[in-house]
């Protein structure tokens, strides 16, 4: 039975964040596989984003270890009702028209990272516990860094032909 995010423990929230990064890495990998050979540039970018998600996961795992020790908290996206951050392409017909661009990939990544940032900001707004508040703010700032990074990349490719 899936829970609402409202009812999660902080330890579960951080575990969920790690699971989300893992699952997003899998999603990027799946999309890279699907779009492989349709568009080399977009596929390479999808693989790059997958690797970035795995890096995010490593950072969050270190954060978890530091905050909660090595006590495993077994929670996954499937245990919650809401979607926190899930990277998704914006059209069902990208393969038909063979029109997935680097910009599309980055915008998909941006939507997912913004979703995650909003999620942590929301949690921090209602948190009373100072230590937890700091944790959520740190996570929100961490996601904000990703958002800024992706926005910079979108701006960078803005003038590239075929981007």
């Amino acid at each position: 039975m899936a829970k609402s995010l409202h009812n999660l423990l902080p330890q579960e929230v951080l575990s969920l964040a790690i699971a989300v990064e893992t699952r997003n890495a899998e999603r990027y990998d799946t999309f890279a596989h699907i779009f492989g050979s349709y568009n080399d540039e977009a596929t390479a970018l999808l693989q790059e984003m997958r690797d970035e998600e795995l890096e995010h996961k490593t950072v969050l795992e270190a954060m978890y270890l530091n905050r909660f020790g090595d006590k495993v908290c077994d929670i996954d996206e499937s245990d919650v009702d809401e979607v926190v951050e899930a990277v998704d392409v914006d059209s069902a017909e990208h393969l038909i028209f063979n029109d997935l661009t680097k910009r599309d990939v980055l915008e998909a990544a941006l939507r997912a990272e913004e979703g995650a940032r909003e999620f942590y900001i929301s949690l921090s707004e209602s948190e009373q516990d100072e230590e937890l508040l700091q944790l959520y703010r740190r996570l929100a700032a961490y996601e904000e860094g990703h958002v800024a990074g992706i926005k910079a990349r979108i701006n960078q490719i803005g003038t590239e032909k075929g981007a």
């Binding site: 492989g36 069902a92 063979n98 029109d99 929301s122 209602s126």
Partner: protein, 493 residues
């Protein structure tokens, strides 16, 4: 611990549960439908009998009577199949013809080396084992322009096709060869997506259909890591139409093969009943030109096959009359009307509407008017309901006047004087031709009503202001009404 949950406003993505209130989940309502769709034998239980019929028709076309009305191929394909397709299957079943179409069967067989069995593997971006060259279709041809031109070519020879069995044999035989070759050379259903001339108009008019295959909960698709609908799994092939169900919003390119129903690990795909004309987004010039072509052809067919214009009939019927100059004039007019004249008149109507609606826009600070490109493409949908209903209005007389051939041809499929079921001597009996206008007029009015209704909805979406929206579509509404009047005059004399 998270506390005070009542005060929390989590700004996460909210659930996007399908269906909206105007949809009915047919798999929930009729569980046997879901079971059928999940069977590995489906849709081949439909395709294989169709394939057998197809070969019988081809043989009948080759060895049977060269007279169209004495050959089962012509009568069944150009009267029965066409009528069933345009009046029932498309409006009520979307691209359900594509589900059972025999043309891509051998192409699929070459690619899958299986009829019902699913091969797990890793090829062509899927988790299935596919065979053949598996090339990617050229990006420049990844649209429906080939289908547009192909259909226009076939339509140019329609008078010949519907009267000469051998012409139809060559056309259908050619299509099955192309489908097989492209199945070997390219990945997935390249033939269906980009080449099949029938697929092009099915794509357009399936937007009006009252059924759709969609995911029940878009969040389940977002969370899904396997994307098995498009990538495939051990339960089903990756979508042969290369559609990702998680974002599917229109019927155009869904062949309803139900592989996604089989492969989805969350049982999240269902068949929904929905209101007529639910999909309203045309996305490119290729799609809107398909709408122009289909509307012009509905008019041209009505003139050639139903109208009283003997001279034009002779021009179109190159095979029997052999008037090459007349045929060249006919084809030139047809292509000019479909590719240039109607688009030009439509453009003028859109331009005028934009001009009227955007008067004073900057002064009131309401922002800029939608671009001409947006208006041109988005308003193109108004040609779809009217076009479909014009085709339906055209097709009823075909069935009512010539439908009785079906009864006699069943007993004498090759036109050799057989009487297999005792109906071989059934005389040609038009069915109440006096009723035709009473069917055609409501059809056309229904089409016009939906065109205007959808036009208004699209205009509101683009202009965000009812007065401007209505003003912007007035010239287009006048154009659509004039087209409807032209059809009415054609049908009612």
């Amino acid at each position: 611990m998270i506390r005070d949950t009542d005060k929390m406003q989590l700004r996460v993505i909210q659930p996007e549960v399908y269906p909206p209130p105007d949809r009915t989940d047919l798999f929930k309502k009729f569980p046997w439908l879901s079971k059928l769709a999940k069977m590995r034998a489906y849709p081949n239980v439909l395709v294989i009998p169709n394939l057998v019929m197809f070969w019988i028709f081809l043989l009948a076309g080759i060895f049977g009577s060269p007279a169209g009305n004495r050959n089962i191929m012509i009568v069944f394909i150009w009267i029965l199949w066409w009528f069933g397709l345009i009046t029932v299957l498309v409006p009520l079943g979307s691209r359900s013809w594509c589900t059972m179409c025999p043309l891509p069967f051998f192409g699929d067989l070459v690619q899958r080396r299986a009829v019902t069995y699913v091969r797990k593997g890793n090829s062509a971006g899927t988790r299935n084992q596919l065979f053949g060259k598996l090339r990617v279709w050229p990006k420049k041809l990844s649209n429906i322009w080939l289908q547009n031109i192909g259909f226009l070519c076939l339509a140019s020879f329609s008078a010949h096709l519907v009267t000469r069995p051998m012409a139809t044999v060559l056309m259908l035989g050619g299509l099955i060869v192309i489908a097989t070759i492209t199945g070997y050379l390219y990945r997935q259903r390249v033939f269906c997506n980009y080449i099949c001339p029938v697929g092009g108009f099915l794509s357009l008019y399936s937007m009006t259909s009252t059924v759709e295959l969609r995911s029940r909960d878009k969040n389940v698709c977002k969370k899904c890591t396997s994307k098995a609908c498009v990538a495939g799994s051990d339960k089903g092939w990756g979508c042969p139409w290369i559609i990702y169900m998680g974002k599917l919003e229109r019927n155009n390119y869904c062949g309803m093969c139900t592989e996604c129903v089989k492969s989805c690990p969350s049982d999240n795909i269902s068949l929904f009943w929905r209101p007529f004309c639910s999909d309203k987004i045309l996305k490119g010039y290729d799609e809107i030109w398909k709408a122009f072509i289909m509307l012009v052809l509905a008019m041209a067919y009505s003139i050639v096959l139903l109208g009283p214009f003997g001279k034009i009939k002779d021009w179109a019927n190159i095979g029997e009359v052999g008037n090459y100059k007349g045929f060249a004039i006919y084809v030139s007019i047809l292509w000019f009307a479909a590719l240039i004249a109607l688009p030009a008149v439509y453009y003028v109507a859109i331009r005028l509407g934009r001009g009227f609606a955007s008067k004073g826009l900057e002064a009131t600070g309401d922002g800029a008017a939608p671009s001409m490109k947006d208006l041109f493409i988005r308003y193109g949908y108004t040609l779809v309901p009217l076009g479909l209903m014009a085709w339906i209005a055209f097709s009823f007389p075909l069935m009512m006047v010539s439908g009785s051939y079906i009864i006699s041809i069943i007993s004498d499929p090759l036109g050799r004087g057989w009487n297999l079921f005792g109906t071989g001597e059934f005389p040609w009996t038009p069915f109440h031709p006096d009723w035709m206008a009473y069917i055609q007029i409501p059809c056309l009015m229904f089409g016009l009503f939906y065109s205007l209704k959808c036009g208004h909805e699209l205009a509101l979406d683009l202009w965000k202001d009812n007065r401007r929206a209505v003003t912007s579509i007035i010239p287009l509404a006048i154009l659509l009404t004039l087209v409807t009047i032209a059809f009415l005059r054609m049908y009612t004399g």
